[in-house]
Subunit: 433 residues, 2 copies
């Protein structure tokens, strides 16, 4: 028997998991490495952050998804660096793993544009833990307001600032507004949660700047109807525990707010930087790896970068950091490997754009399907359908559907848990020793 | 208008929440104080700890449950002490709250019988955070075993010791076994999760010592069929990171195990001690408040203790720390307050015992309904039905039912998330300042 071609995939997100599944029937041995044991359905993370869904509803255990794929193993590990000459990855526990083909799909993290000190005051929404922390802050803010007697302090607890008017910011602002106006409506005695102020801050001239202008206008209308104050051409100049300083034109202003959420910038994950230093691959300003047309790294045809970490242009514009791009790239790369093994020719990657969707709230969304653009109820139904269909497991689909139906009719959100920081965190023992 | 009679209830568990709901139509003002914003359905906590359910499935936000009860407010606060002379509670934030009637329902915590240093090595299952931590340890143990090459170390990662053979210990051991034998069966490549060893340690002469002896025998059989090793008349003498020392008769033995769970002792919560020092109320050895036949504290007819924190005897035996006892006590105390307000006479509390149930695993349970005792599939169906019916919210019932049906047919468990300790824990800012 010959030794199988060893494919190592780093990252079990949309790109990495799609690639892993594509290798199912190929004569290769696949190792999927992730820091986490689950695939996270990131597009619904904002619903965990606002108490609509439970973390368990939007994850699928990687091992479970790949359990029947006998040529594939899942490795729970943290990649520290790439040794491109040795064709090896170094892991945090000191071990190494060798590859013949390496697919890096570690995605992107947050980018505070040089203001990393803002992060504790303005969490962003990338991981399950982020979502749980945001949920805690939001729910606790209402609790604090209920018991606060000073009107100004109370208003600061009831003010929620979302920085960034892209799809994530819009979804968060809309969901926060619904939480305050519908879900929590009858829950308090001293405050009226409907007095909560939700401010969405966008530096560009319109919300959803990546969408066609008419849809931005529709989105703005929906946001206003939901009671969200959208501030365009507005820049954040400072964030602290008590609020946000913003500047618009030449005027600057202080917004007292106890809860600030960051949905503005993303930056390629650290594995990208490590890959760049190992291979000389170029990075863009946001730390993404600029790849060749076949998604490989210059001079290293055996190393591919896909998903949010890859910088790929189409007609001069950067492909967006969304699931369909990552999934198509995962499928493409698996095909490239298969073709190489069979000695066939390779075509460059081409993204087939099926459009983009953003939801604002209950029965409000915008859809840009190229020639077809629409908003409101039909767009929202399409959004529901697409998101349910892409949820990996059938069980999750049913659970999420029931919870959405429940929210729709009762306006309740069941997963409103304030999780406490726990003594386990400090007791954590060195289990390796 | 006269000032309403002020009822303060501390604790939103089964006892406190039932009492709060009973006051719905009475001319009193109710404040329900809890450290947490949710009611926790504790009997299903072990399913969160073993990845079967999400935390959101077994909680109901207290505010939501009580939102329509206009005479009731919910206070998220931590009670520090009771001032029985002033009729006031002191809260952790420095404020106080006055009561005319006080109902203490703060439940019980863990009891390590003087070995509090065992707690980090052997977490017990009382809070949502405990369940999430246990889930993390259990799942991580399999991950570590998958990558461990030394056979002895691997076996230690695959050994799970549960201390305590009461209902919680039995449920945990059974669920761990199903996790290893069914759910994870195809998930790994280097290990066979079915080789996991689950050891249940009980000091008394049989498991489920509070049940009739024939049911203990049935339970033992079911456990054995599930591959659980039950060790009776066995005492734990030491617990550390690497395992457990046990003693049986005169022999002592070391069980190397990386995961040890504690389901042995409970102790009344700290509010009980504070109440005792404020009122001179007697405590039993486990820190429970020994109350009068009307559940009030000696010399303080306006202070009641209910639920797991109350020491109440019936025919010389202590009432068990289960939900039905707490709920009946909550209902009783609300009735006592109503009768007093109307000047009517009061009868002592009497527990109406409808029986007890314990589940061991898939299609295996034991039921003791007084004269009627049975086990196996019928007992398991009864267990399912009772637990679904008592879940507070309709939505939770549907969600839990679907997940149970899903587990039953696929043997999957969807909520298998290893939650990481998070930077937020260290960044936690003093939001009060």
């Amino acid at each position: 028997m010959t030794v199988r071609h060893r494919v190592v995939i780093v990252g079990g997100g949309f790109g990495g998991l799609t690639a892993a599944r594509e290798f199912r029937r190929l004569p290769v041995g696949v190792t999927l490495i992730d820091k986490r044991n689950v695939h996270l359905f990131q597009p619904l993370l904002y619903q965990v952050a606002t108490g609509g869904l439970s973390p368990g509803d939007i994850v699928s255990p990687l091992r479970w998804v790949l359990r029947k794929q006998r040529n594939t193993r899942v490795w729970l590990a943290d990649v520290v660096s790439v040794d491109a000459d040795q064709h090896e990855l170094r892991l945090a526990d000191g071990t190494s793993i060798a590859y013949d083909t390496l697919i890096v799909a570690t995605g992107a993290g947050n980018h505070y544009f040089g203001h990393d000190d803002w992060e504790p005051h303005a969490p962003s929404l990338k991981t399950l833990e982020d979502a749980i922390e945001i949920r805690r802050r939001v729910l606790e803010a209402f609790e604090r307001a209920e018991r606060e007697e000073d009107p100004a302090s109370r208003q600061a607890w009831l003010t929620f600032v979302v920085v960034g008017g892209g799809p994530t910011g819009v979804e968060l602002a809309g969901a926060l507004s619904e939480l305050a106006r519908d879900t929590l409506r009858h829950d308090f005695r001293s405050i009226d949660p409907r007095e909560a102020r939700i401010v969405l801050i966008e530096a560009q001239e319109r919300v959803l700047p990546a969408f066609p202008a008419p849809l931005s206008t529709k989105c703005l209308k929906s946001l206003t109807r939901l009671g969200v104050t959208a501030r365009i051409t507005t820049f954040v100049t400072a964030i602290d525990t008590r609020g946000v300083d913003v500047a618009q034109d030449a005027r600057s202003e202080r917004i007292p707010a106890r809860t600030v959420l960051w949905a503005a910038g993303v930056r390629g994950s650290s594995v990208g930087a490590s890959l760049a230093s190992a291979t000389g691959a170029p990075l863009d300003k946001a730390g993404r790896v600029i790849v060749l047309p076949d998604l490989s790294v210059p001079n290293h045809p055996e190393i591919f970068v896909i998903g949010d970490l890859a910088h790929v242009s189409r007609d001069g514009a950067l492909l967006p950091g969304v699931a369909p791009v990552a999934m198509q790239q995962g499928r493409y790369v698996a095909d490239v490997v298969a073709r190489r093994l069979r000695g066939r020719s390779i075509h460059p990657f081409r993204y087939r754009d099926r459009g983009q969707l953003a939801t604002i709230g209950r029965a409000a969304a915008v859809a840009d399907l190229g020639r077809l653009r629409f908003s409101g109820y039909p767009a929202w139904l399409l959004w529901l359908f697409v998101h349910l269909m892409f949820l990996v497991e059938f069980q999750n689909r049913v659970l999420v559907f029931i919870q959405w139906a429940w929210h729709y009719f009762t306006r309740n959100r069941g997963a409103r848990i304030i999780t406490e920081p726990h003594a386990w965190q400090t007791w954590r023992l060195p289990r390796d020793t």
